[in-house]
């Protein structure tokens, strides 16, 4: 049975939880719904045309621009936002660590390596880097560059971001 959604409620699976979206126009983007309806402001809105990557989320395991997903069409998809990465991060498996740190190894590396300046692009980059390293734990320099080519950062010049990715790769290697 196909779902035809009018202006009634629909439900999205976000960070492992079913979240209902009520009284919303059904043409809204997933980015808008996350930020304005579901109190998940991690994904950022800048270009709203898929160019900048600051709204990157995971949808069924793929990194996508949430501004280009019509939220109502994402019914049935498994969505993970930057807020939900903490549960997915294997190195944060111990509960004590989750409670004390609340950030992932990628986020920690961005802080330590200076990969954050104004911070606007950071959530999208964090999601993109998690996506890369989950699929490819030991990427080449070109693979790293290509995997974040859809995430624009106008502050760092990317050098500190590459350093952060490399740091995570080394830490994860050592803990394997």
């Amino acid at each position: 049975m196909s779902n035809s959604i009018g202006n009634e409620m629909y439900t999205l699976r976000i960070n492992g939880q079913d979240r209902s979206v009520k009284d919303a126009w059904v043409g809204e983007s997933l980015l808008y719904v996350l930020r304005e309806r579901l109190e998940l402001p991690g994904a950022k809105g800048a270009c709203e045309q898929g160019e900048c990557g600051s709204c990157t989320v995971l949808m069924d395991g793929d990194a996508v621009c949430s501004c280009l997903v019509m939220a109502a069409t994402a019914v049935g998809a498994d969505i993970v936002t930057v807020e939900g990465l903490i549960e997915k991060d294997p190195s944060m498996a111990s509960t004590a660590e989750v409670i004390t740190s609340q950030i992932t190894d990628v986020q920690q590396a961005f802080i330590e390596e200076g990969g954050v300046q104004c911070g606007f692009c950071t959530p999208g980059l964090i999601v993109a880097v998690h996506h890369l390293l989950d699929k490819n734990p030991d990427p080449t320099e070109l693979q790293v560059k290509e995997s974040i080519s859809g995430n624009i950062c106008r502050c760092t010049g990317y050098g500190r971001i590459f350093a952060a990715v490399e740091a995570v790769v080394q830490v994860r290697k050592a803990s394997r």
């Binding site: 983007s29 709203e48 045309q49 996508v64 019914v75």
Partner: protein, 282 residues
């Protein structure tokens, strides 16, 4: 406004007969931009992304490949599809960013029919067949008859583009594009070249330099008369340059916000010259 998310083609046709004016949405990378910027406010939308039968591809017994309209570009960049259709893999890799390639599809490129769509020059070079289905009919249309103009195609409102079929050719093939940077650009000019050794022919198709994708038939037949494409192992620079010049003559570019006609004409000539040089440099 309603949004339907059918799980099969049958359900999609039911929705389409219920809401005949509905906009079809695949990856969303075109339509959502229009909606975000208030350029369109669709009455109804039918999302095709969960229709499994559109998200598969297969190699057919007659040495062709059928690719479902919902297969995302990221699947064409790798594996067997890359091996059998290298030009399509190269074109796929130039589409937007990883985020866009996870969402964007050939079905979307065909539905939108922008002359700058990166998949389209490959389909024109390979003489692709486009498959269209309605609730009661199904038809196959040559890509050359399918694309009618800038964002215009031969799809009827009651039809869904289900996929394309392209041949697996024996011979070098590749795709090249000019934009302002490597990632995340819409083509200023693009070209796909495919050598078909079995037929002693070469095919070259140009993107973003005309109202439709342009096949350069004159340049193709000129080159076929100059060298034996099936056995040649190299091409001299003068001939490659002349091929580029002839290709550029067949382009019909315009000035717009992305570039000028003059630059585009020059660029496609250079792309053609480079592609034919690459084809015969190994």
């Amino acid at each position: 406004m309603t949004v339907a998310v059918p799980l099969s083609l049958t359900e999609a046709f039911d929705e389409l007969s219920r809401t005949p004016e509905a906009r079809l949405i695949q990856g969303g990378t075109d339509l959502m931009v229009e909606i975000n910027f208030n350029h369109v406010k669709p009455v109804d939308v039918i999302a095709l992304r969960r229709i499994k039968e559109l998200r598969t591809w297969q190699v057919n017994s007659n040495n062709t490949i059928t690719i479902g309209s919902g297969v995302p570009y990221q699947e064409m960049e790798l594996g067997q599809l890359k091996e059998l259709l290298p030009a399509l893999a190269e074109a796929a890799r130039t589409v937007g960013s990883p985020q866009i390639r996870a969402a964007g599809t050939l079905g979307g490129n065909l539905g939108t029919c922008s002359p700058a769509g990166d998949g389209l020059p490959v389909l024109f070079a390979l003489d692709a067949i486009v498959h269209l289905q309605s609730a009661v009919t199904s038809r196959d249309l040559s890509i050359h008859e399918f694309m009618l103009g800038v964002k215009r195609n031969a799809r009827n409102a009651n039809e869904i583009i289900t996929g394309v079929t392209v041949p697996v050719l024996d011979g070098w093939q590749g795709y090249a594009k000019v934009g302002v940077r490597n990632a995340m650009v819409i083509s200023v000019a693009s070209a796909c070249l495919a050598v078909d050794k079995a037929n002693n022919s070469v095919r070259i198709a140009l993107g973003a330099v005309g109202p439709t994708i342009i096949r350069c038939r004159d340049a193709e037949s000129w080159l076929e008369q100059q060298i034996d494409l099936a056995v040649a192992t190299s091409i001299d620079m003068t001939m490659a340059k002349e091929f580029g010049r002839r290709v550029a003559l067949e382009s019909k570019p315009i000035d717009d916000h992305r570039s000028t006609a003059e630059y585009r004409r020059h660029a496609v000539g250079v792309l053609a010259q480079r592609l034919i040089t690459r084809a015969y440099s190994s």
